[in-house]
């Protein structure tokens, strides 16, 4: 608190500040975190309901709708989000943190709520995907401003020795948001049939509408909060920046730190975060073919067990410095990604499963489908099997029936809906836990690290851009580059991992060589 002693405050003012500080800081963390929680909630419900949203707003076979869908997914994350960081970062440095992150919250939650009110493509035609695209772009814009505001707000309230620990609470909202989104969707789904849930005005809209309630509560909490003391002081002294964008990106002394923050920390953090939290799930589902329920619960257990480590590494960064904890998380990812994901593949290897003696759980279901532009047919035989140790799977055998010769040409057998045995299940949970622990290492200290890198008058602008390019662009590209590499080198099922490994390695070298591990005790400058 030593910086307050320079502000001409009396001893009693300082005493009052100290006694109320621990209670006060809890409200500050809660006010900031509840907004980022909503941000995550909105992010997850859109992802979890993507299939229904696509059917309702972006029907297949319509070229314009397909283009709008692509823009809604890619433009919102890659272009609008960094742009939002600039727009709201600037605003946050001009008018203050409190009102800016109130605005981003209302925009974010309001857009989510409105998506739930847009009639489907069947009712209003192309206006439906257009409106959804517009609202998604608004969401992306608000997303770009939200995190920087929350991190700056908490950090500027936190005492010097606890900045890492206090800001790490914001990071836990990524997990909480996931659980709230999943819980609400499950609750709605359990109370109605699939048809009622997926109908045009069906249950899938409820999670979108609920967003407005969360926003209401959050706005109420944030409105009662005071402006950040450091920003208020700066404003009272007339020292706020007149042009934060110019000061952040056109003054070499600051711009070089923006570049260092991006290439030495945020881009590596982005790919480690995305690989652990999202790529792992898609890998378990699409490459290992593990059934929906098991793949989801493996992820949920892993994430739940690892979440407290956000706080642990935030706390540790206050003692040991931010740099090496973040870089250690990257290094662990670089060294262990391939062995971990290879274990996932080996444990679910279809060939070895097929080689074992199985028991059919029920009689096979045979379906015949005509082959396009041919007289032949495909015979699909679906059988569910279980193995002695409790593993289960569904085998789909596709043979071709040649009509001219009445000859059945044997085809491939694909295993889907795999269920691993209990022992392997918990090993998978343990490995996912490890992947998320890496996320907590890079993510736990990052807010404090970014805040300490920049001066108060341009902090919001300067820290938001590298953070959102790191997470939105470098992190968001993990599935796309993964697909690109898998298509180019199909022989290696793990080839997609070279992108996060490569980016994390680059970031590790830059961070190790150029970053300082020194904690900036005084952010009041």
């Amino acid at each position: 608190m030593h910086h307050f002693q320079h502000d001409g405050l009396s001893f009693w003012q300082l005493v009052r500040m100290n006694s109320s500080s621990s209670r006060g800081i809890r409200s500050v963390i809660a006010a900031a975190s509840v907004g980022t929680l909503i941000e995550w909630y909105d992010f997850y419900i859109f992802g979890m309901l993507a299939k229904t949203i696509s059917t309702q707003f972006f029907p297949e076979g319509n070229a314009t709708a397909a283009l709008l869908s692509t823009l809604a997914i890619f433009a919102a994350g890659f272009i609008v989000r960094p742009f939002g960081a600039l727009v709201f970062g600037r605003l946050g440095d001009l008018i203050g943190r409190k009102y800016t992150f109130l605005l981003t919250l209302v925009l974010m939650g309001g857009s989510t709520f409105l998506i739930g009110l847009v009639p489907g493509y069947k009712t209003i035609g192309i206006a439906a995907p257009l409106l959804v695209l517009l609202l998604r772009l608004l969401q992306g814009l608000a997303l770009g401003g939200e995190y920087g505001g929350a991190a700056t707000y908490v950090a500027e309230h936190a005492p010097a020795g606890k900045r890492g620990y206090y800001t790490s609470w914001i990071q836990t909202t990524a997990t909480l948001g996931l659980f709230v989104a999943l819980g609400i969707i499950m609750l709605v789904k359990l109370n109605m049939s699939d048809t009622a849930f997926n109908a045009e005005w069906g249950g899938w809209r409820y999670p979108f509408w609920i967003s407005i309630l969360l926003v209401g509560v959050s706005v109420y909490i944030r409105l009662r909060m005071q402006e950040s003391p450091l920003f208020s002081k700066l404003k009272a002294e007339g020292k706020t920046s007149a042009n934060p964008l110019k000061e952040s990106f056109r003054h070499k002394a600051n711009f070089k730190m923006v570049l260092l923050a991006l290439f030495g920390a945020a881009m590596g953090q982005g790919v480690i975060w995305y690989t652990g939290q999202f790529y792992a799930q898609s890998f378990l589902e699409t490459k290992c073919n593990i059934g929906f329920e098991q793949s989801r619960t493996i992820m949920l257990w892993g994430i739940a067990f690892a979440t407290p480590f956000f706080l642990f590494f935030g706390w540790l960064s206050d003692k040991a410095g931010r740099k090496w904890i973040m870089l250690a998380g990257m290094l662990l990812g670089i060294l262990t990604y391939r062995p971990i994901f290879n274990y996932f593949l080996q444990a679910t290897d279809s060939k070895s499963w097929l080689a074992e003696e199985e028991t059919a759980a029920m009689p096979p279901v045979v379906k015949m489908e005509a082959v396009k532009n041919s007289t032949d047919s495909v015979v699909l035989t679906t059988t569910s099997f279980s193995l002695a140790d409790g593993r289960k799977y569904t085998a789909i055998k596709s043979d071709t029936l040649r009509v001219t010769s009445a000859f059945l040409v044997p085809g491939k057998t694909i295993l889907t809906d795999k269920e691993v045995a209990t022992g392997t299940y918990w090993k998978f949970v343990g490995l996912v836990f490890l992947l998320i622990v890496y996320v907590t290492m890079v993510y736990g200290p990052i807010a404090a690290f970014l805040v300490e890198l920049f001066p108060t008058r341009i902090r919001y602008t300067s820290m938001s851009l590298p953070y959102h390019i790191g997470n939105g662009v470098f992190g968001g590209l993990v599935p796309f580059i993964g697909l690109l590499l898998t298509t180019t080198y199909p022989a290696d099922p793990l080839v997609g991992l070279w992108y996060p490994i490569g980016i994390a390695s680059l970031c590790f070298i830059i961070g190790a060589v150029y970053l300082s591990n020194k904690i900036d005790e005084n952010v009041d400058d």
């Binding site: 692509t70 890659f78 070499k252 002394a253 711009f255 070089k256 662009v473 796309f480 697909l483 060589v513």
Partner: protein
């Protein structure tokens, strides 16, 4: 350490055009109007190249700064940013 920072600066400087080349090459190779994967979609490539070009230029500037010794001493106070 100062020399390593400068030598690596040359690497970042050269890496940036390589990244842009790889992206453009990837786009030319994979864009396919008949394909239905994300990597066949020209709109996605345009968006990615559009956003990655300034990022690669940023890496280039980072390399130049490193080469000039701008990262030999990092700023600690507001006055250092002046």
């Amino acid at each position: 350490m100062k020399n390593i920072k400068k030598i690596l600066g040359v690497c970042w400087l050269l890496l940036a055009p390589v990244i842009i080349y790889m992206l453009v090459h990837g786009a030319v190779t994979h864009i396919d109007p008949a394909g239905n994967k994300d990597i066949n979609n020209p709109v996605i490539w345009i968006i990615i190249i559009l956003i990655f070009t300034p990022v690669a230029i940023g890496l280039m500037i980072f390399g130049i700064y490193a080469l000039k010794g701008e990262y030999d001493k990092l700023p600690g106070k507001s006055e250092d940013f002046e």
